[in-house]
């Protein structure tokens, strides 16, 4: 058991249930929300390790949720993976700009999703300043 908590946000109960079963099988603890407002409340209350977020939500869509999360110091550190039925070409870049660390389009390849979750949860946070190393001249 690795005790990592994942908040699953989707307005479709079947999608939430499916993700719950899949994540439980991978030994993650799951929490749920089906709208924007509840998502923020649940995130505050439980401080999850990761949020899986749908974009089309009642009471504050996915982008509004990311906005609210990123403006709160304690919540802005929670990594977000967007899983949406919306067109990836129109929404992927927008979601990444808004703070998501990955975008998946429904239906999701579960093995890639689990691999990405594992990677995001295992990853150290990157310090922006130490980001680019100049190697100088390349040998030729």
């Amino acid at each position: 058991m690795n005790n990592k908590k994942i908040l699953i946000v989707d307005d479709d109960p079947d999608v939430r249930r499916g993700l719950q079963v899949r994540l439980k099988a991978n030994h993650y603890e799951t929490l749920f929300a089906s709208d924007g407002i509840t998502t923020i409340a649940e995130a505050r209350k439980h401080q999850p390790d990761l949020i899986i977020l749908d974009l089309g939500l009642p009471a504050g869509d996915g982008f509004a949720v990311m906005d609210l999360l990123s403006s709160n110091d304690a919540l802005s550190v929670i990594p977000i993976i967007v899983v949406s039925g919306r067109d990836r070409f129109a929404n992927r870049d927008k979601a990444l700009q808004a703070g998501a660390c990955a975008f998946f389009q429904k239906p999701v390849d579960n093995h890639s999703l689990v691999a990405t979750i594992r990677k995001v949860l295992g990853q150290r946070r990157v310090v922006a300043d130490a980001f680019v190393h100049d190697l100088g001249e390349i040998s030729s």
Partner: protein
């Protein structure tokens, strides 16, 4: 005028409708896919061989439905002029092999022999690997659909005999073939072969999308067929040519003597790539980002040049710049990298370095084409040195 306005309005309405419908179809499909895969992965208990087979059939059909939805969306993109291709330096046999392994189970289900062969020493193509895979999958799926059980589908890649600057990819089947009338219309949107004997006709969008995608690569697509004698669908893609890509940099012959700087940006994940798809997406994001860093002059972002020997992805930029200018450019790209939020969150490390190549022409009157070829060869040599396995040993 009025009728045209109404027509345009209708087209837009159709597109909005299609885009909405395809989005709405995805949610229930996602739930079906999720639960079928939960059962078939054995999460809900052990699955016996017979159950596994049935689940495989369900999965195959879900994926087919998904590709139809993708087609619908692609069509709305074509209409809106938003169908994008991202050409890179790719191996067509590698991409074809992926397409074939994707189609393997549906060919096996109809006992159709699916084979692939490529001419030896085929040069790389300049094309979008995902889109080429999509085209080949589409052509193979069609071939399987219109070929009777125990038939054959052969895929072949070679140099295009009528134009050696292109590769041709052929998908040949032993199916029913098409009438002359049908073969003229088969690439049109929503066209259906009349009295088709295929069990399922599909949406009539696949070949239309293939044609649009091939056109956006600068290639052509056509069919050779006769009723009762099977069909061969062929398309062409340009062969990758460094000289063609860098030629615009040297259009102004008076500036030939100015040096060329080659920038190398290496991208490295902190702990390997989660999936091959994650690698492709990160590469695409970084490419788009680098493209935006370039001044809109004569600088060129070169496509991926093949494996680096490690898990790194390498990006190459060529610009007309001397040592001092190149150093400034290098710093500017570094700055841009550090202030880009999604990249900063991506857990990737970037390293940038550059090398300045002198361009001293052999003689003043050297024809432009020869000069460009010579520069391309010089640049290729430099790139080979950089991308050679082990050449990154000096990295910390």
């Amino acid at each position: 005028m009025e009728t045209e306005r109404i027509r345009n309005q209708q087209v837009q309405l159709n597109d909005e409708f299609l885009s909405h419908v395809s989005h709405e179809l995805r949610s229930p499909l996602a739930a079906i896919y999720e639960f079928v895969s939960i059962v078939s992965d054995g999460i809900a208990g052990e699955v016996n061989a017979e159950q596994a087979e049935y689940l495989q059939i369900a999965t195959r059909n879900v994926l087919q439905l998904r590709s139809m939805i993708d087609d619908l969306l692609d069509v709305t993109r074509v209409q809106g002029g938003k169908l994008r291709v991202e050409p890179r330096c790719i191996s067509v046999p590698d991409v074809a092999a992926e397409a074939i392994s994707f189609c393997r189970s549906s060919a096996a289900a109809r006992e159709i022999a699916l084979t692939f062969d490529a001419s030896a020493g085929l040069p790389r193509a300049y094309a979008d690997p995902r889109r080429i895979r999509q085209i080949i999958v589409n052509l193979i799926s069609n071939a399987i659909k219109f070929t009777p059980a125990k038939g054959q589908v052969k895929v072949h890649a070679g140099i295009y005999e009528k134009n050696p600057n292109f590769l041709s990819i052929e998908v040949m089947d032993t199916g029913f073939g098409l009438s002359e009338e049908s073969s003229r219309h088969v690439f049109e949107r929503l066209y259906q072969v009349p009295d088709s004997q295929a069990a399922r006709k599909g949406l009539g969008l696949g070949l239309y999308i293939c044609k649009e995608l091939v056109c956006r690569h600068g290639g052509e697509i056509w069919v050779r067929t006769r009723l009762g004698e099977g069909s061969t669908f062929c398309f062409t893609v340009p062969i990758f040519s460094l000289a063609a890509l860098i030629a615009p940099m040297f259009r102004d012959a008076t500036k030939r003597a100015e040096p060329v700087a080659l920038f190398v940006v290496r991208m490295r994940p902190e702990s390997g790539w989660a999936t091959e798809e994650a690698r492709e997406e990160a590469s695409l994001d970084t490419r788009n980002f680098l493209q935006r860093c370039l001044p809109p002059s004569l600088d060129v972002l070169l496509p991926e040049m093949g494996p680096t020997g490690s898990g790194d992805v390498m990006f190459l930029l060529a610009a007309r710049a001397n040592e001092a200018e190149a150093a400034v450019m290098s710093r500017r790209i570094c700055e841009q990298f550090s202030i880009n939020e999604p990249l900063a969150r991506s857990g990737l490390t970037f390293a940038i370095s550059h090398r300045v190549l002198a361009t001293a022409p052999h003689e003043d009157r050297e024809p432009t084409e020869e000069f460009v070829n010579r520069m391309a060869a010089r640049m290729q040599e430099c790139i080979d040195n950089i991308t050679r396995p082990g050449s990154d040993r000096d990295e910390q």
